[in-house]
Each structure stands twice: as structure tokens, then as C-alpha cells.
């Protein structure tokens, strides 16, 4: 039996999430006393980087331009069966969430999506995840012999150990032609996607108008952060929907979340309160967000944000 982890590659390189996934899978395999194996679609130039987490074998599937998420899932399920995998791990993102269900059904597996802890075998197979959009944590027992899970981004911090060599095996399992034809992919270049971002700068209605966003963009750029927003500003079209974090938007858990001109309604807090450190900048001392913050600045954001950007720039230069 083994642990199989789906390694995400994009444009021939590892996606950031793959580091955490490889580390998590190796740790899980150690807890379960099993071997660990990765599976990746297509060539991945920096796959040897995963050796630093102790991942030593990766099955490589040949890409098929006519494949789709269903046929990729079928091939991954085939690899899982060939490896007698009892635990299959995906990232809890748009890739993992579209593959996981199909793999699980093919393997007659139990599922748990969005886990945030390593499994424990002290009392059956138990594992936890956040529920109620971050308002609580639930520990689940999984009863099925085969389990398929997805890992919420930024749940464990990958630590390097001794660097091992990763053996790549070209799998003889084929990705069949699919029925879903992707005709276009549009991505904003250069930014880390929100669910994977460790640093996030987010702004809300306190910004007063969409034209005022350059100060947010500048702060994010100096910090190397991804931008986000609250629901009202996405709803009125000031910012794109994919930036909306909160209960009905994206749930995130970055190391640093800077909330600017966001009051902190319970629905917004639900999506961001797993952030390690929260900074709130708001001129309203009654803003509920201050209660959920580590650091607060109660002042006009148009005064504070440029000063914070300047201070960060000075810090980065030193």
C-alpha cells in the first residue's frame, strides 16, 4: 500500500502548491507507515526540487491535448490502483477539486476535501478541516479502506530534509481523449493565485472609488503580495469577482492579511480568519475587524497606506 500525491505542473514547471503537497504526502506516508509516490502529467523541469522533502518516486503520465479532467482522473485512478494507494492527495484548488471526485468514485473511496492537518492513526484514521467557512474546525474519522483528500493551501509549512533523488517513471497508463474541449485559458501573469498566496493585501468600500486602487496595487507590489477585496466592492464591479475573499468568495489562509477599509462583517471574517497574522487599517474605531486583528491602525487609509508602502520599501532595500 502507498500514499499517492497529485503533483501540479503548469507550463512545464511545478506549481507552488506542489511543494506543500509533496511535503504533506511524505509526512502522511511516514505516519501511516507507507511508501509515498507522486503522479504528474507531462514533463516538469524542476521536479527534482521535490527530493528535498523526501519524495523519491514520481509516475509521469504523458499529456494528451485532447484529454479532460475526467480522463486525467481516470488515469490517476489507474496509477493509484497500480500503486495500491490507500490515500490519494490533491491540492484543494481548481485542479484538485475537479479531479478528486472522479478519482474517488473510481476507487470507491471516502473523501474529505480541504483538510488542514496531517492524518492521525491513534484512534482510527482521523483528520481535520475547517468548516462553516473557517468559523470552526471539525475532526473526521474516515472509514473506507481507500481515502481521497484535498489539502487546503498553506496548511503545513514545507521543511527540507536531506535531498533525495527523485526517480521519474514514465507510466504506461494513458490519458484517453475527453469530451470537454478547453478553448481558451486567460490568466493574469505574475501574481500568486489567492488560495496559495502567503501575503495578501485586501481592500473594501473604504476605498471610496475604483480609481483609488493604485495605492493598494503599489503596496501589494512592494510587499510581493496578491490583491483581494471584500464582497461589496466585487458586487458593484470595482474589482473582479475572483478577488473576493470571504464566506461566499475565496477562503484563504495566508501568513499575512492586510485589510484596508474593510469593516470586517462576519461573512468576510469567515473567509480570512485562518490567516496567521491580520493587520487592519480602518478609520472607524468601532470596525468589528479590529477584534479579529493582530495589529490595527485606526486612521484614514489614504494617509496610512502610502506610509506603510514607504516603510516596507525602506525595509526591503535594507
Amino acid at each position: 500500500m502507498s500514499v499517492l500525491v497529485y503533483i501540479e505542473a503548469q507550463n512545464g514547471k511545478l506549481r507552488k502548491a506542489s511543494h506543500e503537497l509533496a511535503y504533506y504526502a511524505v509526512k502522511s506516508a511516514a505516519i501511516l507507515g507507507l511508501d509515498c509516490c507522486g503522479v504528474v502529467v507531462g514533463d516538469c523541469a524542476d521536479i527534482q526540487d521535490l527530493g528535498q522533502y523526501g519524495l523519491t518516486q514520481v509516475e509521469q503520465l504523458a499529456p494528451n491535448a485532447n484529454g479532460d479532467n475526467m480522463t486525467i482522473a481516470a488515469a490517476v485512478a489507474g496509477v493509484a490502483q497500480a500503486k495500491s494507494a490507500s490515500l490519494v492527495i490533491f491540492g484543494h484548488n481548481s485542479i484538485g477539486k475537479s479531479l478528486l471526485p472522479s478519482v474517488a468514485v473510481k476507487l470507491s473511496a471516502g473523501t474529505l476535501s480541504g483538510v488542514n492537518s496531517l492524518p492521525s492513526t491513534d484512534n482510527g484514521f482521523t483528520i481535520s478541516k475547517t468548516v462553516f467557512s473557517g468559523k470552526a474546525i471539525a475532526t473526521y474519522e474516515m472509514h473506507t479502506p481507500v481515502k481521497v483528500i484535498s489539502l487546503m493551501g498553506n496548511s503545513v509549512k514545507p521543511e527540507s530534509s536531506e535531498v533525495e533523488n527523485v526517480t521519474i517513471n514514465n507510466s504506461d497508463i494513458q490519458i484517453a481523449d475527453g469530451t470537454i474541449k478547453v478553448i481558451e485559458t486567460r490568466r493574469e501573469d505574475g501574481t500568486v493565485p489567492l488560495p496559495e498566496a502567503e501575503l495578501v493585501v485586501s481592500a473594501g468600500r473604504g476605498m471610496k472609488a475604483p480609481d483609488n486602487w493604485p495605492i493598494i496595487d503599489e503596496l501589494a507590489e512592494v510587499l510581493g503580495a496578491t490583491t483581494a477585496c471584500s464582497r461589496p466592492v466585487a458586487d458593484i464591479g470595482w474589482r473582479p469577482h475572483h478577488e473576493h475573499v470571504g464566506q461566499t468568495g475565496v477562503a484563504i489562509r495566508p501568513n499575512l492579511y492586510i485589510a484596508i477599509g474593510i469593516s470586517g462583517a462576519i461573512q468576510h471574517l469567515a473567509g480570512v480568519n485562518s490567516s496567521k497574522t491580520i493587520v487592519v487599517i480602518n478609520k472607524d474605531p468601532e470596525a468589528p475587524f479590529f477584534k479579529a486583528a493582530d495589529y490595527g491602525v485606526c486612521a484614514d487609509l489614504f494617509d496610512v497606506v502610502p506610509k506603510l508602502t514607504a516603510a516596507l520599501r525602506k525595509f526591503k532595500e535594507n
Binding site: A104, S113, A136, E141, T277, K307
Partner: protein, 246 residues
């Protein structure tokens, strides 16, 4: 078009989350329930728009006990034509998907829609499980959907962008924000909804897959440290040295 919209019951978004029975059960005392927003605002409304444009019917599918009929009526008030309730407590994603798939296999739905996730257990995989059970194509997190004959053109949200795809139906999709605009039912619609049929069907038997054994609340913050607008160098120092996040 015949469309199945899968709906779930969730606590309302401002509900206070507490637990009972030694933190093993969600405390339902005083909790108001709503139709899961992704199911109601986006999946259901887009289904109604498609049927308004092309003819057909919108059927609600729900797994739950009779007490949930009041939630199903909300979906009927928004405009669905009828509902099917599979009479069982929803125990896990696998169990719910098997129930819905077992019903859908006996009907010729052109499209099965779910919300992208429920706002209580945030699984985001029911749609995919239903599709896999029925061996239908599955497209998740759809924020734009057009139909021409049996061909669907879908825009799907991915990290930092979108992916546009085409696929022939029948298909299963999960709806994300942007797919439609929320509709508020009028009093007349609410009255009408009481006369719309809810068919109750028996659940198929399934083996248990997962059980929640314990709940806990996230660790609260230690209290906020306030700084003045001119202390930004100090804030940066704290973020670096104390919080260690820079």
C-alpha cells in the same frame, strides 16, 4: 430543457457556530437556516433563465428529512417548477451524491447544476461526485454558461483567471459567483410555491464513509496591538520580528 438543481440547507451566514454533546454535534438551537447561497443565487437562477429562454422545467433535488421542506419551498418560490426530496439525513458527500445520482439516472436531465460548495462544510465536490457516478462530464466553478442546441460553452474560474470550454450535454456543473444574479421572490411567488409538488422518494442504501467525531473553534486572537498612522516603520518591524511574516 430539463434541468436538475441540487440544493442544500445551510445555517444563515451570520449564525453563531456552537456545539453540544461534548463538542460532537452542531448546536442547532436558535440557528436560522437558508438555502445554500451558491445553490440559490447562481445555480437555480441560471437554470431558470435557461428554461425561460428555451422552454422546459427546473426540478430541485434535495437530500434531507421532511423538516427541510420549508427550505425546498424557498427554491420553489424563486421559480423552480417542482422538487424531489430524497428522504434521508445527508451523512457525507459520497452519500448525498449517490442519492442524487440514483434519482438522476432515472430521468433525462439535460443539465445538472450544483452550487460550487455549501457554506457549512465547504466540500466543493458533490457536483463532481454526481458526475462521476453518472459518468457525465463535469465542469466546476462555472461563472458563465451559454447553451446552443446540446452544446454548452462554459467559463470556469481558476486561480488567477478563467478557462473557457465547450462540451456536449448532458453535463454536471458547479456554479460560482457571477453565473446569475440573485432573485428575490414576490409574495405571489411565495404563495404559489405552496402548491408546487415535492415528490418524496426513498433513499438508496449506502455504507458510511466519514463521520465527524469532534468540533472545535479556532484559537482567538490575543488582542489587537494598535499603532498610529506615523508608526509604519514600527509596524514593519513588528511584522518582521514579532509576527515573522515578512
Amino acid at each position: 430543457m430539463k434541468i436538475l438543481v441540487c440544493i442544500s440547507k445551510t445555517p444563515e451566514t451570520t449564525a453563531k457556530i456552537t456545539f453540544t454533546d461534548g463538542d460532537t454535534k452542531f448546536n442547532e438551537d436558535g440557528v436560522q437556516y437558508i438555502l445554500n447561497p451558491y445553490d440559490e443565487w447562481y445555480a437555480l437562477v441560471r437554470a431558470l433563465e435557461l428554461v425561460e429562454a428555451n422552454g422546459g422545467e427546473v426540478v430541485l433535488g434535495h437530500v434531507g428529512p421532511a423538516a427541510n421542506d420549508s427550505i425546498i419551498r424557498k427554491g420553489l418560490a424563486v421559480g423552480a417548477h417542482r422538487a424531489v426530496r430524497i428522504d434521508a439525513d445527508p451523512l457525507s458527500a459520497e452519500m448525498v451524491a449517490k442519492q442524487i445520482a440514483s434519482h438522476a439516472a432515472t430521468e433525462n436531465y439535460d443539465l445538472i447544476l450544483c452550487g460550487k460548495e455549501t457554506i457549512d462544510y465547504n466540500g466543493a465536490i458533490i457536483g463532481g461526485l454526481i458526475a462521476a457516478e453518472l459518468t457525465l462530464p463535469y465542469v466546476s466553478f462555472v461563472s458563465h454558461l451559454e447553451v446552443s442546441g446540446s452544446e454548452f460553452t462554459l467559463t470556469r474560474d481558476i486561480e488567477g483567471g478563467v478557462e473557457v470550454s465547450k462540451v456536449n450535454g448532458p453535463i454536471v456543473i458547479s456554479a460560482s459567483k457571477g453565473l446569475a444574479e440573485q432573485r428575490i421572490p414576490k409574495m405571489k411567488d411565495i404563495m404559489m410555491s405552496k402548491r408546487k409538488p415535492i415528490d418524496v422518494i426513498e433513499a438508496v442504501s449506502t455504507d458510511p464513509t466519514t463521520t465527524i467525531i469532534k468540533y472545535s473553534l479556532p484559537q482567538g486572537k490575543q488582542g489587537v496591538k494598535m499603532l498610529g498612522p506615523d508608526d509604519m516603520d514600527e509596524l514593519v518591524r513588528l511584522l518582521n520580528e514579532e509576527a515573522k511574516v515578512l
